[in-house]
Amino acid sequence: MPPLPPSVPLSWYLTLSLILFVLGIAGFLFRRNIITVFMSIELMLNAVNLSFITFSYKLKQVDGHIFAFFVMVVAAAEAAVGLAIILTVFKNRQTLEIDELSSLKN
């Protein structure tokens, strides 16, 4: 693995990861289209992946890599199931507005 340029310190990676994660949370909470919400979740996962890789590199341990791969596998599975659900929802409701899908209560 090629060494990181010495000019990029650890904190930058972590800051980027944090920004991505907060963006994900914001999208997760405030967007109204289900697909966007879904993409926000993916964004959060990848933000976490980034910090895993960073620490793995910094600490010279392979655990973080393994974990990142693991998260990617789960994310792929989740994407498949999630998109299928979204398709079905759209077929039945002709809408992807998240506020209109509120029949599951009480």
């Binding site: 997760f28 909470l29 919400v37 998240i98 506020d99 509120s102 029949s103 599951l104 209560k105 009480n106």
Partner: protein, 637 residues
């Protein structure tokens, strides 16, 4: 030696008839039911002859034991499934399988017109299985298994006509009353396990015999008395005898097999088996003698005035069981077992004969509606005569030998017991011959009744004229008649001598025997005088002694007494306290309260479930933040 085959053959019969009986023909059911018991009987014979019983010498001085597997192993306690055969078990095996087979054959004829045919024979075979486990078991727990099993079969067979309320009531009564006795028995078994660390007969009795008699500690008496409580339940002794007369609601072969010949003698067998314990607890042994004598006496008086032929014999059974316990209590264990055997012969014959009479009368059981049957059912007449002279103790027939042995032992123990026993013997002869004369002699009293009467036994198949029974019924009667007459010459006390010391007998016939024979003959003569020569006398006596007569006729109001003292308070208490208070406002309140609390809590919590996905998302984020805060506060661990 494959002792396990003996009980397993009837169990196989039960399995075949119970599972497939609905689809089998009657012939097949008969073959399976009677055949399995016959094979079991033959296997008993083969086993005994292999053990040298029928040869000379002194076979079976030691018990022959087979160990199959360890059933329970817990700490010091080690209980195996072991079958053992010794001289006592050999006698019981012969009685159970031999008489059992004859009664199975008889039942084929008797039950021919009944519904639930396969069910009846399946239960009967199951009974044989449990009874054989009971006598073969080599420890108290196996004995208990058999003990409970025969109780179950007794319940099932008493309530065989389950559409009749009185039959199911009688079954319940038998089962519940037996529970009381079985509870005592179970406590005794626990005490034995605690004090001896084993339930094996050999171990326990070996330890008991090692103790000096003087050291009969209080708990030894307690064990003996609790065992005897079990025996009073199963063998129908005062105060738990009340179920046996009612048990006559079952079909007559059941009365003969279970409630006369085998199951009810299980208590006698158990006490005899535990003789080592009883001999170390003299107080308990005295209780056994007194209860036995009291039961013999009172049951005999109750038998005097019964009008149902089966009830007469039922009270007679209770009374004869009392004799057996009198024998055991006065130390003559072998005489008690001797009486078990002869009683099995003549009482089974009495019941089967009664069944034959009932069959002839198309279901009529009331002695007042019989009479003059001698012409119509000659074989039944002669065989019942054999049984009656045997039970009346007329020498040289079987009842004389065993009853005399018991009475002789009672005289040695306490003369007053002997005299009460002799008086009871007189009454026995009287009521047995009363039933005999009423049924077979005098004017027929059945013309009007026979056609429309379908008595308790639900056995009517309306032929009008009384008729002799088919061969499958009278052949067992004939065999049992021979046994009743000659069975007294099978010298059981001598056979059991290695186990129980027999007191030395003086030469010639002791005067005690002469007196009891005289009492028996007097009873027969009185019965003949009352019911053959001048039938007006008994009615006159009943009128002039109306109060004692009413008491006897109503069986001393014992059933009514138990009803008002035990049964009704129990039902009332259950209804008003246990149901209305404990159940309704206690248990129900707890259960309903739990449900209500959960629902109220849910009512509050369900507001979180608004259905809006975004609020869920907010909860998730909030939760994550809380978790992170909590971890941070905890120092990052």
């Amino acid at each position: 030696m494959q002792l396990w085959l003996i009980p397993l053959l009837p169990l196989a019969g039960f399995a075949v008839n119970g599972l497939l009986g609905r689809r089998l023909s009657k012939t097949a059911i008969n073959a399976v039911a009677a055949g399995s018991v016959l094979l079991s009987f033959l296997w008993v014979l083969k086993t005994l002859s292999a053990l040298g019983v029928f040869g000379g010498g002194t076979p079976l001085e030691q018990a022959y034991t087979e160990h199959y597997y360890t059933w329970i192993q817990s700490g010091m306690l080690n209980i195996g499934v072991d079958f053992a055969i010794d001289r006592l078990t050999a006698v019981m095996l012969m009685i159970v399988t031999g008489v059992g087979f004859l009664i199975h054959v008889y039942a084929i004829g008797y039950m021919a017109h009944e519904g639930g045919y396969y069910r009846f024979f399946a239960y009967l075979n199951l009974f044989m299985f449990f009874m054989l486990v009971l006598v073969l078991g080599a420890n108290f727990l196996l004995l208990f298994v058999g003990w409970e099993g025969v109780g179950l079969c007794s319940y099932l067979l008493i309530g065989f006509y389950f559409t009749e309320k009185f039959a199911t009531d009688a079954g319940n009564k038998a089962f519940i009353v037996n529970r009381i006795g079985d509870f005592g028995f179970a406590l005794a078994v626990f005490l034995i396990a605690v004090h001896f660390g084993s339930l094996d007969f050999a171990t326990v009795f070996g330890k008991v015999q090692g103790m000096p008699v003087e050291s009969s500690a209080g708990w030894m008496t307690a064990i003996a008395l609790l065992l005897f409580v079990g025996a009073t339940g199963k063998s129908a002794q005062i105060p738990l005898y009340v179920w046996l007369p009612d048990a006559m609601a079952g079909p007559t072969p059941v009365s003969a097999l279970i409630h006369a010949a085998t199951m009810v003698t299980a208590g006698v067998y158990m006490v005899t088996r535990s003789s080592a314990i009883f001999l170390h607890a003299h107080n308990a042994l005295e209780v056994v003698a007194i209860i036995g004598l009291a039961t013999a006496f009172f049951a005999a008086t109750m038998g005097l005035a019964q009008t149902d032929i089966k009830k007469v014999y039922a009270y007679s059974t209770v009374s004869q069981l009392g004799y057996m316990f009198l024998g055991l209590g006065t130390g003559a264990f072998s005489a008690g077992i001797f009486h078990v055997m002869t009683h099995a012969f003549f009482k089974a014959l009495l019941f089967l004969g009664a069944g034959s009479v009932i069959h002839a009368m198309s279901g009529e059981q009331d002695l007042r509606k019989m009479g003059g049957l001698r012409k119509y059912t000659p074989i039944t007449f002669w065989t019942l005569l054999c049984a009656s002279v045997a039970i009346a103790g007329v020498p040289p027939f079987s009842g004389y030998h065993s009853k005399d042995a018991i009475l002789a032992s009672a005289y040695e123990y306490a003369p007053w017991m002997y005299w009460v026993g002799v008086f009871t013997a007189g009454m026995t002869a009287f009521y047995v011959f009363r039933a005999f004369f009423l049924a077979f002699f005098g004017e027929p009293r059945w013309q009007a009744a026979a056609h429309d009467a379908h008595g308790h036994d639900a056995h009517g198949h309306g032929h009008g004229e009384p008729h002799e029974s088919p061969p499958s019924m009278w052949i067992p009667l004939a065999v049992l008649a021979v046994l009743s007459l000659a069975g007294g010459y099978i010298n059981i006390p001598k056979w059991l001598e290695p186990m129980f010391k027999v007191p030395e007998e003086g030469p010639g016939i002791p005067w005690t025997a002469l007196v009891s024979v005289a009492a028996g003959l007097l009873g027969i003569a009185l019965a003949a005088w009352f019911y053959l020569i001048s039938p007006a006398i008994p009615e006159g006596l009943a009128r002039s002694f109306s109060t004692p007569y009413r008491w006897i006729y109503n069986k001393y109001f014992v059933d009514e007494f138990y009803d008002s003292v035990v049964v009704e308070p129990m039902i009332d208490g259950s209804r008003s306290l246990l149901w209305r208070v404990v159940d309704a406002s206690g248990i129900d309140a707890i259960v309903n309260g739990t449900g209500k609390t959960a629902r109220n809590l849910g009512g509050i919590l369900k507001r979180m479930q608004s259905g809006s996905i975004r609020s869920y998302a907010a909860w998730v984020v909030l939760g994550s933040i809380m978790v992170i805060i909590a971890i941070t506060m905890g120092g990052g661990r």
